[in-house]
Symmetry: C2
């Protein structure tokens, strides 16, 4: 269970900060950042922002996981990205001037800080390192999404699942992968039933272990082979 008060989260001691956009911050910058941010506890399945609305700031994950997704015509979610501790999300549409093209909500209970739009933009103006970090981040994601598109267009569901599991393993690190079958299907881009059947196959092939909701990869090499490059 997470600490429900936000009072204990300070940027100076935030372990997620090290590998975040603010990882290079010096002492005084961290103090400023800490002063500007507001931290909140979110329970599972709480929205951070919703497609179509306008951004008021950015979110910085101290702890927890967040799915970033769009909804297709029939309301089905397509998960574009899963953010973990240290990730900063929601800045894209702040720059493009458009409303959010994606929604975001927590996948588990999380501590998430919020930095107001104006504060964030001022920080960006004054800090070339932050600015370049953001440009780099945007560029990197753009490249990832080109591959995502190609995978969707050309790989089979089985291949995409293998690919997705490898990505999820990175995101979950030491922890077991913990997603509902529906969320996983919406990440892979398939029907829930198909996903379940394929997971069963992978389990029988001793590629993964399934512990009810949680999932462990036991043969990464096989997954790599199935996923293709």
């Amino acid at each position: 269970m997470l600490e429900k008060s936000h009072k204990h989260v300070t940027c100076a001691t935030c372990s997620a900060r090290k590998n975040s956009l603010f990882g290079t911050y010096g002492e005084s910058e961290v103090m400023d950042l800490n002063h500007e941010k507001m931290c909140n506890y979110y329970k599972k399945n709480q929205p951070l922002f919703i497609e179509g609305s306008f951004p008021r700031g950015v979110f910085c994950l101290n702890q927890g996981k967040v799915k970033v997704f769009t909804r297709g015509d029939e309301g089905k979610e397509q998960i574009i990205h899963i953010a973990k501790a240290g990730d900063v999300i929601g800045f894209r549409s702040m720059f493009s001037g458009e409303p959010y093209k994606v929604s975001a909500s927590t996948l588990e209970e999380s501590n998430i800080c919020f930095i107001g739009k104006d504060d964030f933009l001022v920080m960006m103006d004054n800090n070339p390192i932050l600015r370049n970090g953001i440009i780099k981040e945007l560029s990197k994601e753009l490249g990832d999404r080109a591959q995502f598109i190609t995978n969707m267009a050309q790989k089979s569901v089985r291949e995409r699942l293998a690919f997705s599991l490898l990505i999820l393993a990175d995101i979950y690190g030491e922890e077991e992968i913990n997603l509902t079958r529906e969320d996983m299907a919406n990440f892979v881009g398939t029907a829930t039933e198909t996903l379940i059947r394929l997971l069963k196959d992978f389990k029988e092939d001793e590629i993964i272990e399934i512990h009810t909701r949680k999932l462990l990869i036991v043969n990464r090499d096989k997954l790599l082979r199935i996923a293709g490059r």
Copy 2:
């Protein structure tokens, strides 16, 4: 036929510049830009850069069209984007520090200018408007690609074709859409044969006119309805 010499292309008179990243440039900035750029004539199907290599600068399209694509495991192209006059391409991986994740080559004969990496980065450092324009551009594309992914995952080929034709109509403007069936299929994300059959359907439904290679949209509303939101 295009003018084959690059000598006649200068940034000051470049009509494509107005709605490019350099659209807001003042007189002296345009002179600098003109001094730094090198213009070249490309014939059809000439590569600008290739996936896996490292960027040496950016390309600015004076005239022509360029496809930006990745190759899947079996070498099949997936077209991610089609650039037109005024578009600047190839800057993504310059910022991310990674090799190109995509390739680019001309779809028709084109005049394309090149600006070296160092020159471009200096320009960015000195020009907040250019910088913000780039950040905006990266952000906008990131949003577009989220939708692209969702379309791939959830729309039928027929719906995606309708969607793609609307995008192509924007890119080609007054001109007729002029792509090989294979390129169009690689943009929609389907087999060439399937694309051909669907084009035939659309033609019979009087949604498009086909003039051998070239293609004209005659009922935009129907396309909108098929494409979904």
